[in-house]
Protein backbone atom coordinates (compact mmCIF):
# COMPACT_ATOMS: atom_id res chain seq x y z
CA UNK A 1 0.00 0.00 0.00
CA UNK A 2 1.65 3.14 -1.19
CA UNK A 3 1.32 6.33 0.81
CA UNK A 4 -0.05 8.08 -2.28
CA UNK A 5 -3.10 5.77 -2.35
CA UNK A 6 -4.11 6.70 1.19
CA UNK A 7 -7.03 9.02 1.63
CA UNK A 8 -6.02 11.63 4.22
CA UNK A 9 -9.18 11.52 6.24
CA UNK A 10 -9.82 11.18 9.97
CA UNK A 11 -11.80 7.96 9.47
CA UNK A 12 -8.90 6.51 7.46
CA UNK A 13 -6.53 7.53 10.26
CA UNK A 14 -8.71 5.73 12.79
CA UNK A 15 -8.86 2.69 10.49
CA UNK A 16 -5.07 2.63 10.07
CA UNK A 17 -4.53 2.97 13.79
CA UNK A 18 -6.79 -0.08 14.29
CA UNK A 19 -4.85 -1.96 11.61
CA UNK A 20 -1.54 -1.10 13.26
CA UNK A 21 -2.77 -2.34 16.60
CA UNK A 22 -4.08 -5.57 15.05
CA UNK A 23 -0.85 -6.11 13.07
CA UNK A 24 1.25 -5.56 16.16
CA UNK A 25 -0.71 -8.05 18.23
CA UNK A 26 -0.66 -10.50 15.24
CA UNK A 27 3.08 -9.99 14.96
CA UNK A 28 3.53 -10.74 18.64
CA UNK A 29 1.39 -13.89 18.43
CA UNK A 30 3.13 -15.14 15.28
CA UNK A 31 6.52 -14.56 16.89
CA UNK A 32 5.39 -16.62 19.85
CA UNK A 33 4.08 -19.34 17.49
CA UNK A 34 7.36 -19.35 15.55
CA UNK A 35 9.38 -19.71 18.76
CA UNK A 36 7.06 -22.43 20.01
CA UNK A 37 7.31 -24.33 16.71
CA UNK A 38 11.11 -24.04 16.77
CA UNK A 39 11.16 -25.51 20.28
CA UNK A 40 8.89 -28.39 19.14
CA UNK A 41 11.04 -28.87 16.06
CA UNK A 42 14.23 -29.27 18.09
CA UNK A 43 12.52 -31.78 20.35
CA UNK A 44 11.37 -33.82 17.34
CA UNK A 45 14.75 -33.38 15.65
CA UNK A 46 16.52 -35.24 18.46
CA UNK A 47 13.86 -37.98 18.30
CA UNK A 48 14.25 -38.14 14.51
CA UNK A 49 18.02 -38.49 14.83
CA UNK A 50 17.58 -41.46 17.20
CA UNK A 51 14.94 -43.08 15.00
CA UNK A 52 17.09 -42.58 11.88
CA UNK A 53 20.11 -44.22 13.50
CA UNK A 54 17.88 -47.06 14.77
CA UNK A 55 16.48 -47.41 11.24
CA UNK A 56 19.99 -47.61 9.76
CA UNK A 57 20.97 -50.24 12.33
CA UNK A 58 17.76 -52.22 11.68
CA UNK A 59 18.42 -52.10 7.93
CA UNK A 60 21.97 -53.35 8.37
CA UNK A 61 20.80 -56.13 10.67
CA UNK A 62 18.03 -57.15 8.24
CA UNK A 63 20.47 -57.19 5.30
CA UNK A 64 22.87 -59.32 7.31
CA UNK A 65 20.18 -61.77 8.45
CA UNK A 66 18.71 -62.17 4.95
CA UNK A 67 22.28 -62.63 3.66
CA UNK A 68 22.84 -65.49 6.11
CA UNK A 69 19.42 -67.03 5.35
CA UNK A 70 20.08 -66.82 1.60
CA UNK A 71 23.50 -68.37 2.04
CA UNK A 72 22.58 -71.21 4.40
CA UNK A 73 19.00 -72.05 3.36
CA UNK A 74 19.28 -70.75 -0.22
CA UNK A 75 17.30 -68.01 -1.93
CA UNK A 76 14.90 -70.63 -3.27
CA UNK A 77 13.98 -71.62 0.29
CA UNK A 78 13.64 -68.02 1.41
CA UNK A 79 11.50 -67.19 -1.62
CA UNK A 80 9.26 -70.22 -1.16
CA UNK A 81 8.86 -69.47 2.55
CA UNK A 82 7.91 -65.89 1.74
CA UNK A 83 5.03 -67.20 -0.43
CA UNK A 84 3.41 -68.57 2.73
CA UNK A 85 2.63 -65.12 4.09
CA UNK A 86 -0.19 -63.25 2.39
CA UNK A 87 -1.31 -60.79 5.05
CA UNK A 88 0.23 -57.35 4.91
CA UNK A 89 0.90 -55.00 7.83
CA UNK A 90 -2.02 -52.67 8.48
CA UNK A 91 -1.42 -48.98 8.87
CA UNK A 92 -3.91 -46.55 10.42
CA UNK A 93 -3.39 -42.90 9.70
CA UNK A 94 -4.63 -40.33 12.21
CA UNK A 95 -3.73 -36.70 12.70
CA UNK A 96 -2.82 -34.53 15.67
CA UNK A 97 -2.36 -30.82 16.13
CA UNK A 98 0.87 -29.12 17.20
CA UNK A 99 0.21 -25.33 17.53
CA UNK A 100 -2.11 -25.34 14.56
CA UNK A 101 0.08 -27.63 12.44
CA UNK A 102 -1.68 -30.86 11.50
CA UNK A 103 0.83 -33.74 11.66
CA UNK A 104 0.25 -37.43 10.98
CA UNK A 105 0.04 -40.11 13.64
CA UNK A 106 0.70 -43.56 12.17
CA UNK A 107 -0.50 -46.61 14.05
CA UNK A 108 0.63 -49.98 12.71
CA UNK A 109 -0.64 -53.44 13.49
CA UNK A 110 0.21 -57.02 12.44
CA UNK A 111 3.84 -56.15 11.78
CA UNK A 112 5.50 -58.28 14.46
CA UNK A 113 4.45 -61.88 14.25
CA UNK A 114 5.22 -64.96 16.26
CA UNK A 115 6.72 -67.91 14.35
CA UNK A 116 3.38 -69.72 14.41
CA UNK A 117 1.60 -66.73 12.84
CA UNK A 118 3.84 -66.31 9.81
CA UNK A 119 2.03 -68.85 7.68
CA UNK A 120 4.92 -71.26 7.19
CA UNK A 121 5.38 -74.57 8.96
CA UNK A 122 7.92 -74.67 11.77
CA UNK A 123 9.33 -78.12 11.04
CA UNK A 124 10.27 -77.39 7.44
CA UNK A 125 11.94 -74.06 8.09
CA UNK A 126 14.95 -72.91 10.09
CA UNK A 127 15.99 -70.29 12.61
CA UNK A 128 17.90 -68.53 9.78
CA UNK A 129 14.56 -67.76 8.11
CA UNK A 130 12.93 -66.89 11.47
CA UNK A 131 15.63 -64.37 12.26
CA UNK A 132 15.54 -62.82 8.78
CA UNK A 133 11.75 -62.44 9.12
CA UNK A 134 12.19 -61.00 12.64
CA UNK A 135 14.77 -58.49 11.42
CA UNK A 136 12.56 -57.36 8.53
CA UNK A 137 9.52 -56.99 10.81
CA UNK A 138 11.65 -54.83 13.08
CA UNK A 139 12.79 -52.82 10.05
CA UNK A 140 9.19 -52.24 8.91
CA UNK A 141 8.28 -50.99 12.41
CA UNK A 142 11.22 -48.58 12.38
CA UNK A 143 10.28 -47.35 8.89
CA UNK A 144 6.72 -46.61 10.07
CA UNK A 145 8.03 -44.74 13.12
CA UNK A 146 10.57 -42.82 11.03
CA UNK A 147 7.85 -41.95 8.50
CA UNK A 148 5.70 -40.44 11.27
CA UNK A 149 8.51 -38.45 12.88
CA UNK A 150 10.13 -37.28 9.65
CA UNK A 151 6.79 -36.18 8.15
CA UNK A 152 6.03 -34.28 11.38
CA UNK A 153 9.45 -32.66 11.17
CA UNK A 154 8.93 -31.70 7.53
CA UNK A 155 5.50 -30.21 8.23
CA UNK A 156 6.84 -28.28 11.22
CA UNK A 157 9.71 -26.93 9.13
CA UNK A 158 7.28 -25.82 6.40
CA UNK A 159 5.13 -24.09 9.00
CA UNK A 160 8.10 -22.47 10.75
CA UNK A 161 9.20 -21.10 7.38
CA UNK A 162 5.70 -19.84 6.64
CA UNK A 163 5.34 -18.23 10.08
CA UNK A 164 8.79 -16.66 9.79
CA UNK A 165 7.80 -15.10 6.45
CA UNK A 166 4.60 -13.73 8.00
CA UNK A 167 6.46 -12.32 11.03
CA UNK A 168 9.01 -10.68 8.74
CA UNK A 169 6.31 -9.34 6.43
CA UNK A 170 4.47 -7.80 9.39
CA UNK A 171 7.63 -6.49 11.03
CA UNK A 172 9.40 -5.07 8.01
CA UNK A 173 6.62 -4.30 5.53
CA UNK A 174 3.05 -4.15 6.79
CA UNK A 175 3.56 -2.32 10.12
CA UNK A 176 6.15 0.22 8.79
CA UNK A 177 3.91 0.97 5.80
CA UNK A 178 0.89 1.45 8.03
CA UNK A 179 2.91 3.67 10.35
CA UNK A 180 4.15 5.65 7.37
CA UNK A 181 0.57 6.04 6.15
CA UNK A 182 -0.51 7.13 9.64
CA UNK A 183 2.25 9.77 9.75
CA UNK A 184 1.29 10.91 6.24
CA UNK A 185 -2.41 11.28 7.16
CA UNK A 186 -1.54 13.16 10.34
CA UNK A 187 0.72 15.55 8.47
CA UNK A 188 -1.83 15.95 5.72
CA UNK A 189 -4.65 16.60 8.23
CA UNK A 190 -2.50 19.17 10.07
CA UNK A 191 -1.68 20.79 6.75
CA UNK A 192 -5.37 20.89 5.82
CA UNK A 193 -6.17 22.46 9.19
CA UNK A 194 -3.56 25.16 8.67
CA UNK A 195 -4.93 25.81 5.17
CA UNK A 196 -8.45 26.15 6.62
CA UNK A 197 -7.29 28.57 9.34
CA UNK A 198 -5.45 30.64 6.71
CA UNK A 199 -8.49 30.63 4.40
CA UNK A 200 -10.77 31.81 7.26
CA UNK A 201 -8.39 34.62 8.17
CA UNK A 202 -8.29 35.75 4.55
CA UNK A 203 -12.08 35.78 4.34
CA UNK A 204 -12.32 37.83 7.60
CA UNK A 205 -9.68 40.22 6.32
Amino acid sequence: MGVKDVKPTRSELIEIKKKIKLSQSGHKLLKMKRDGLILEFFEILSKAKDVRSELDAAYEEASRKIGIANAVDGTITVKSTAFALKSKPEIELESRNIMGVVVPKIESSSVKKSINERGYGILGTSSYTDEAADAYENLVEKIILAAEIETTMKKLLDDIEKTKRRVNALEFKVIPELQEAMVFIRLRLEEMERENTFRLKRIKG
Binding site: I68, A71, T75, I76, S114, I115, N116, S127, Y128, D130
Partner: protein, 358 residues
Amino acid sequence: MQLLQKFKRGNSKKSLSKGHANYAYTIARVRAMKSKLLPKETYPRLMNMSIDEITRFIEESEYKEDIDQLARQYEGVDLIEHALNRNLAETFTKLLYISEGDVNFLIGEKLKKYDIWNIKTILRGKYCNASTEEILDAIVAGGRLNYSSLSELAAKATYEDVISELANTEYYPILENYDGTNLSEIENKLDKMYYTGLFDAVGGSKSKDRKLFEEFTRMGIDLKNLITLFRLKKSGITDPEAMDLMIDGGLRCNLKETGKLLPLSFADFVSELESNPYWDVISDIVKPDMTSLVDVETRLKNHRLKSAASFSHVYPNSIVPIMDYMLSKQNEISNLRIIIRGKAANLEDDVIKEQLVI
Protein backbone atom coordinates in the same frame (compact mmCIF):
# COMPACT_ATOMS: atom_id res chain seq x y z
CA MET B 1 -3.43 -88.31 -11.66
CA GLN B 2 -2.41 -90.63 -14.47
CA LEU B 3 -0.13 -87.91 -15.68
CA LEU B 4 1.49 -87.65 -12.26
CA GLN B 5 2.09 -91.39 -12.11
CA LYS B 6 3.57 -91.30 -15.58
CA PHE B 7 6.11 -88.72 -14.47
CA LYS B 8 7.05 -90.29 -11.14
CA ARG B 9 10.57 -91.61 -11.10
CA GLY B 10 11.83 -95.11 -10.37
CA ASN B 11 8.87 -96.19 -8.29
CA SER B 12 7.57 -98.97 -10.46
CA LYS B 13 6.40 -102.05 -8.60
CA LYS B 14 9.52 -103.85 -9.76
CA SER B 15 11.91 -101.30 -8.33
CA LEU B 16 10.02 -101.04 -5.06
CA SER B 17 10.00 -104.76 -4.42
CA LYS B 18 12.26 -105.20 -1.46
CA GLY B 19 13.59 -108.59 -2.62
CA HIS B 20 15.77 -107.41 -5.47
CA ALA B 21 18.30 -104.80 -4.43
CA ASN B 22 21.28 -103.97 -6.66
CA TYR B 23 23.57 -102.75 -3.88
CA ALA B 24 26.82 -103.76 -5.63
CA TYR B 25 25.99 -101.90 -8.84
CA THR B 26 24.59 -98.82 -7.12
CA ILE B 27 27.55 -98.57 -4.74
CA ALA B 28 30.05 -98.90 -7.62
CA ARG B 29 28.29 -96.03 -9.43
CA VAL B 30 28.11 -94.00 -6.21
CA ARG B 31 31.86 -94.46 -5.60
CA ALA B 32 32.57 -93.12 -9.09
CA MET B 33 30.26 -90.17 -8.41
CA LYS B 34 31.86 -89.55 -5.04
CA SER B 35 35.29 -89.28 -6.61
CA LYS B 36 34.02 -86.23 -8.50
CA LEU B 37 33.13 -84.32 -5.33
CA LEU B 38 35.29 -81.32 -4.55
CA PRO B 39 38.15 -82.12 -2.14
CA LYS B 40 38.00 -80.37 1.22
CA GLU B 41 41.12 -78.31 0.37
CA THR B 42 39.02 -76.50 -2.23
CA TYR B 43 36.92 -74.54 0.28
CA PRO B 44 39.75 -72.54 1.95
CA ARG B 45 40.93 -71.69 -1.59
CA LEU B 46 37.44 -70.56 -2.59
CA MET B 47 37.25 -68.41 0.54
CA ASN B 48 40.22 -66.42 -0.73
CA MET B 49 38.71 -65.85 -4.18
CA SER B 50 36.46 -63.06 -5.40
CA ILE B 51 32.92 -63.82 -6.64
CA ASP B 52 34.08 -63.69 -10.27
CA GLU B 53 36.89 -66.14 -9.57
CA ILE B 54 34.55 -68.52 -7.74
CA THR B 55 32.06 -68.28 -10.59
CA ARG B 56 34.76 -69.17 -13.06
CA PHE B 57 35.95 -72.05 -10.86
CA ILE B 58 32.41 -73.46 -10.67
CA GLU B 59 31.92 -72.98 -14.40
CA GLU B 60 34.98 -75.13 -15.05
CA SER B 61 33.92 -77.87 -12.63
CA GLU B 62 31.27 -80.63 -12.65
CA TYR B 63 28.61 -77.92 -12.73
CA LYS B 64 29.53 -76.64 -16.21
CA GLU B 65 26.62 -78.34 -17.98
CA ASP B 66 24.09 -77.01 -15.47
CA ILE B 67 25.45 -73.49 -15.83
CA ASP B 68 25.34 -73.72 -19.63
CA GLN B 69 21.74 -74.94 -19.49
CA LEU B 70 20.56 -72.11 -17.24
CA ALA B 71 22.78 -69.28 -18.54
CA ARG B 72 20.00 -67.81 -20.66
CA GLN B 73 17.52 -67.72 -17.78
CA TYR B 74 19.66 -66.42 -14.92
CA GLU B 75 22.83 -64.47 -14.32
CA GLY B 76 25.42 -63.82 -11.63
CA VAL B 77 25.01 -65.42 -8.23
CA ASP B 78 21.44 -66.52 -9.05
CA LEU B 79 22.77 -68.52 -11.99
CA ILE B 80 25.27 -70.31 -9.76
CA GLU B 81 22.64 -71.13 -7.12
CA HIS B 82 20.14 -72.45 -9.66
CA ALA B 83 22.87 -74.46 -11.36
CA LEU B 84 23.89 -76.00 -8.03
CA ASN B 85 20.27 -76.93 -7.28
CA ARG B 86 19.79 -78.36 -10.76
CA ASN B 87 22.92 -80.47 -10.36
CA LEU B 88 21.71 -81.74 -6.98
CA ALA B 89 18.33 -82.68 -8.44
CA GLU B 90 19.98 -84.41 -11.43
CA THR B 91 22.35 -86.33 -9.15
CA PHE B 92 19.60 -87.60 -6.88
CA THR B 93 17.41 -88.45 -9.86
CA LYS B 94 20.30 -90.52 -11.22
CA LEU B 95 20.49 -92.42 -7.92
CA LEU B 96 16.79 -93.25 -8.20
CA TYR B 97 17.25 -94.47 -11.77
CA ILE B 98 20.26 -96.67 -11.13
CA SER B 99 18.97 -98.26 -7.92
CA GLU B 100 16.45 -101.05 -7.56
CA GLY B 101 14.43 -102.76 -4.86
CA ASP B 102 15.29 -102.06 -1.27
CA VAL B 103 18.03 -99.56 -2.05
CA ASN B 104 15.70 -97.62 -4.35
CA PHE B 105 13.05 -97.64 -1.65
CA LEU B 106 15.44 -96.24 0.96
CA ILE B 107 16.82 -93.56 -1.38
CA GLY B 108 13.24 -92.64 -2.31
CA GLU B 109 12.26 -92.31 1.34
CA LYS B 110 15.24 -90.02 1.97
CA LEU B 111 14.40 -87.94 -1.11
CA LYS B 112 10.75 -87.50 -0.11
CA LYS B 113 12.05 -84.38 1.58
CA TYR B 114 12.26 -82.78 -1.88
CA ASP B 115 8.79 -83.98 -2.93
CA ILE B 116 7.31 -82.57 0.26
CA TRP B 117 9.27 -79.35 -0.20
CA ASN B 118 7.98 -78.98 -3.77
CA ILE B 119 4.36 -79.70 -2.81
CA LYS B 120 4.63 -77.11 -0.02
CA THR B 121 6.13 -74.57 -2.42
CA ILE B 122 3.30 -75.10 -4.93
CA LEU B 123 0.65 -74.74 -2.21
CA ARG B 124 2.37 -71.61 -0.85
CA GLY B 125 2.54 -70.21 -4.38
CA LYS B 126 -1.18 -70.84 -4.93
CA TYR B 127 -1.90 -69.32 -1.51
CA CYS B 128 -0.26 -66.00 -2.37
CA ASN B 129 -1.31 -66.05 -6.06
CA ALA B 130 2.27 -66.35 -7.33
CA SER B 131 2.73 -66.96 -11.05
CA THR B 132 3.65 -70.42 -12.36
CA GLU B 133 7.14 -69.12 -13.27
CA GLU B 134 7.69 -67.79 -9.75
CA ILE B 135 6.65 -71.14 -8.27
CA LEU B 136 8.84 -73.12 -10.67
CA ASP B 137 11.76 -70.87 -9.79
CA ALA B 138 11.59 -72.16 -6.21
CA ILE B 139 11.35 -75.85 -7.07
CA VAL B 140 14.14 -78.41 -6.72
CA ALA B 141 13.03 -81.59 -8.47
CA GLY B 142 15.26 -83.92 -6.47
CA GLY B 143 12.64 -86.46 -5.38
CA ARG B 144 10.36 -88.95 -7.10
CA LEU B 145 8.16 -86.22 -8.60
CA ASN B 146 9.99 -84.94 -11.65
CA TYR B 147 10.10 -81.42 -13.05
CA SER B 148 7.42 -82.04 -15.70
CA SER B 149 4.87 -83.29 -13.20
CA LEU B 150 5.74 -80.49 -10.79
CA SER B 151 5.32 -77.98 -13.63
CA GLU B 152 1.87 -79.43 -14.34
CA LEU B 153 0.98 -79.07 -10.67
CA ALA B 154 2.32 -75.51 -10.50
CA ALA B 155 0.24 -74.57 -13.56
CA LYS B 156 -3.02 -75.62 -11.88
CA ALA B 157 -5.37 -72.73 -11.26
CA THR B 158 -6.25 -73.41 -7.63
CA TYR B 159 -4.92 -75.32 -4.64
CA GLU B 160 -7.98 -77.63 -4.88
CA ASP B 161 -6.83 -78.68 -8.36
CA VAL B 162 -3.31 -79.32 -7.06
CA ILE B 163 -4.62 -81.47 -4.21
CA SER B 164 -7.00 -83.45 -6.42
CA GLU B 165 -4.08 -84.16 -8.76
CA LEU B 166 -2.26 -85.67 -5.79
CA ALA B 167 -5.32 -87.74 -4.78
CA ASN B 168 -3.63 -91.13 -5.18
CA THR B 169 -0.43 -90.22 -3.40
CA GLU B 170 0.48 -90.89 0.22
CA TYR B 171 0.31 -87.13 0.85
CA TYR B 172 -3.40 -86.92 0.10
CA PRO B 173 -4.74 -87.88 3.56
CA ILE B 174 -2.93 -84.82 4.93
CA LEU B 175 -3.55 -82.54 1.96
CA GLU B 176 -7.32 -83.18 1.89
CA ASN B 177 -7.55 -81.31 5.21
CA TYR B 178 -6.18 -78.13 3.65
CA ASP B 179 -8.93 -75.51 3.51
CA GLY B 180 -6.92 -72.58 2.19
CA THR B 181 -6.26 -71.11 5.63
CA ASN B 182 -4.33 -73.77 7.59
CA LEU B 183 -1.18 -73.93 5.46
CA SER B 184 1.30 -74.00 8.36
CA GLU B 185 -0.56 -76.89 9.99
CA ILE B 186 -0.51 -78.88 6.74
CA GLU B 187 3.19 -78.08 6.22
CA ASN B 188 4.04 -79.31 9.71
CA LYS B 189 2.07 -82.52 9.15
CA LEU B 190 3.84 -83.17 5.83
CA ASP B 191 7.26 -82.59 7.39
CA LYS B 192 6.39 -84.82 10.32
CA MET B 193 5.24 -87.46 7.87
CA TYR B 194 8.67 -87.33 6.21
CA TYR B 195 10.51 -87.98 9.48
CA THR B 196 8.17 -90.71 10.71
CA GLY B 197 8.17 -92.29 7.22
CA LEU B 198 11.96 -92.33 7.16
CA PHE B 199 12.06 -93.74 10.68
CA ASP B 200 9.60 -96.50 9.73
CA ALA B 201 11.55 -97.27 6.55
CA VAL B 202 14.91 -97.75 8.25
CA GLY B 203 13.69 -99.11 11.58
CA GLY B 204 13.12 -102.72 12.52
CA SER B 205 15.99 -104.22 10.53
CA LYS B 206 18.49 -106.49 12.26
CA SER B 207 21.42 -105.88 9.89
CA LYS B 208 24.20 -103.75 11.36
CA ASP B 209 24.38 -101.33 8.44
CA ARG B 210 20.65 -100.59 8.65
CA LYS B 211 20.93 -100.17 12.40
CA LEU B 212 23.65 -97.59 11.82
CA PHE B 213 21.45 -95.77 9.33
CA GLU B 214 18.54 -96.02 11.74
CA GLU B 215 20.66 -94.44 14.49
CA PHE B 216 21.66 -91.64 12.16
CA THR B 217 18.03 -91.00 11.22
CA ARG B 218 16.93 -91.07 14.85
CA MET B 219 19.70 -88.65 15.79
CA GLY B 220 18.32 -86.35 13.08
CA ILE B 221 14.91 -86.54 14.82
CA ASP B 222 16.51 -85.69 18.20
CA LEU B 223 18.27 -82.67 16.75
CA LYS B 224 15.17 -81.54 14.82
CA ASN B 225 13.12 -81.71 18.05
CA LEU B 226 15.81 -79.80 19.92
CA ILE B 227 16.05 -76.95 17.43
CA THR B 228 12.22 -76.81 17.19
CA LEU B 229 12.13 -76.45 20.99
CA PHE B 230 14.73 -73.68 20.83
CA ARG B 231 12.67 -71.82 18.23
CA LEU B 232 9.40 -72.26 20.15
CA LYS B 233 10.99 -71.12 23.42
CA LYS B 234 12.64 -68.11 21.80
CA SER B 235 9.23 -67.07 20.46
CA GLY B 236 7.73 -67.52 23.93
CA ILE B 237 5.40 -70.33 22.84
CA THR B 238 4.41 -72.58 25.74
CA ASP B 239 1.14 -73.84 24.30
CA PRO B 240 0.78 -77.61 24.96
CA GLU B 241 -0.56 -77.96 21.41
CA ALA B 242 2.99 -77.29 20.20
CA MET B 243 3.72 -80.85 21.32
CA ASP B 244 2.25 -81.86 17.94
CA LEU B 245 5.43 -80.48 16.38
CA MET B 246 7.62 -82.97 18.23
CA ILE B 247 8.59 -86.04 16.26
CA ASP B 248 8.56 -89.46 17.87
CA GLY B 249 11.44 -91.91 17.43
CA GLY B 250 14.44 -89.95 18.65
CA LEU B 251 17.65 -91.75 19.54
CA ARG B 252 18.67 -90.26 22.86
CA CYS B 253 15.68 -88.11 23.84
CA ASN B 254 12.22 -89.54 24.26
CA LEU B 255 9.05 -87.64 23.56
CA LYS B 256 7.97 -87.63 27.23
CA GLU B 257 11.17 -85.92 28.34
CA THR B 258 10.96 -83.45 25.45
CA GLY B 259 7.35 -82.64 26.38
CA LYS B 260 8.43 -81.59 29.87
CA LEU B 261 10.55 -78.81 28.37
CA LEU B 262 7.64 -77.32 26.46
CA PRO B 263 5.94 -75.23 29.20
CA LEU B 264 9.23 -73.72 30.43
CA SER B 265 10.43 -70.19 29.82
CA PHE B 266 13.55 -69.76 27.67
CA ALA B 267 15.84 -69.28 30.71
CA ASP B 268 14.42 -72.35 32.50
CA PHE B 269 14.61 -74.32 29.27
CA VAL B 270 18.30 -73.47 28.92
CA SER B 271 19.07 -74.53 32.50
CA GLU B 272 17.13 -77.79 31.99
CA LEU B 273 19.13 -78.48 28.85
CA GLU B 274 22.25 -79.17 30.87
CA SER B 275 21.03 -82.73 31.30
CA ASN B 276 20.33 -83.13 27.59
CA PRO B 277 22.54 -85.66 25.75
CA TYR B 278 23.48 -83.01 23.15
CA TRP B 279 24.39 -80.33 25.71
CA ASP B 280 28.14 -80.77 25.12
CA VAL B 281 27.69 -79.83 21.46
CA ILE B 282 26.14 -76.44 22.25
CA SER B 283 27.10 -75.71 25.88
CA ASP B 284 29.57 -72.92 25.06
CA ILE B 285 27.13 -70.90 22.92
CA VAL B 286 23.83 -71.34 24.77
CA LYS B 287 23.05 -68.56 27.24
CA PRO B 288 19.72 -67.60 28.88
CA ASP B 289 19.99 -64.12 27.30
CA MET B 290 21.08 -65.20 23.83
CA THR B 291 19.42 -63.27 21.00
CA SER B 292 20.20 -65.47 18.02
CA LEU B 293 19.67 -69.19 17.44
CA VAL B 294 21.66 -69.27 14.20
CA ASP B 295 24.83 -70.53 15.91
CA VAL B 296 22.93 -73.24 17.78
CA GLU B 297 21.28 -74.51 14.62
CA THR B 298 24.58 -74.43 12.73
CA ARG B 299 26.34 -76.30 15.54
CA LEU B 300 23.66 -79.02 15.69
CA LYS B 301 23.60 -79.37 11.90
CA ASN B 302 27.38 -79.69 11.79
CA HIS B 303 27.33 -82.23 14.62
CA ARG B 304 24.95 -84.42 12.63
CA LEU B 305 27.02 -84.23 9.45
CA LYS B 306 30.25 -84.93 11.32
CA SER B 307 28.74 -87.95 13.03
CA ALA B 308 27.64 -89.23 9.59
CA ALA B 309 31.21 -88.86 8.33
CA SER B 310 32.48 -90.94 11.26
CA PHE B 311 30.68 -94.10 10.07
CA SER B 312 30.80 -93.54 6.34
CA HIS B 313 33.63 -96.06 5.82
CA VAL B 314 32.12 -99.01 7.67
CA TYR B 315 29.85 -101.57 5.93
CA PRO B 316 31.00 -100.79 2.37
CA ASN B 317 28.35 -102.99 0.75
CA SER B 318 25.29 -101.43 2.31
CA ILE B 319 23.05 -98.36 2.27
CA VAL B 320 25.64 -96.49 4.39
CA PRO B 321 28.03 -95.40 1.58
CA ILE B 322 25.05 -94.32 -0.56
CA MET B 323 23.61 -92.15 2.20
CA ASP B 324 27.10 -90.86 2.94
CA TYR B 325 27.41 -89.79 -0.70
CA MET B 326 23.99 -88.11 -0.63
CA LEU B 327 24.93 -86.14 2.48
CA SER B 328 28.35 -85.25 1.05
CA LYS B 329 26.77 -84.02 -2.18
CA GLN B 330 24.20 -81.96 -0.28
CA ASN B 331 27.00 -80.59 1.85
CA GLU B 332 29.10 -79.65 -1.18
CA ILE B 333 26.18 -77.77 -2.72
CA SER B 334 25.46 -76.10 0.62
CA ASN B 335 29.10 -75.08 1.14
CA LEU B 336 29.42 -73.61 -2.37
CA ARG B 337 26.17 -71.69 -1.91
CA ILE B 338 27.22 -70.41 1.51
CA ILE B 339 30.53 -69.13 0.12
CA ILE B 340 29.13 -67.45 -2.97
CA ARG B 341 25.97 -66.05 -1.36
CA GLY B 342 27.90 -65.02 1.73
CA LYS B 343 30.43 -63.12 -0.36
CA ALA B 344 27.67 -61.54 -2.44
CA ALA B 345 25.97 -60.35 0.78
CA ASN B 346 29.30 -58.96 2.08
CA LEU B 347 29.23 -61.23 5.13
CA GLU B 348 32.47 -61.34 7.10
CA ASP B 349 34.77 -64.30 6.34
CA ASP B 350 34.39 -65.57 9.91
CA VAL B 351 30.60 -65.69 9.60
CA ILE B 352 30.87 -67.60 6.31
CA LYS B 353 33.43 -70.04 7.75
CA GLU B 354 31.20 -70.74 10.78
CA GLN B 355 28.42 -71.92 8.46
CA LEU B 356 30.63 -74.22 6.38
CA VAL B 357 30.94 -77.93 7.11
CA ILE B 358 34.30 -79.09 5.80
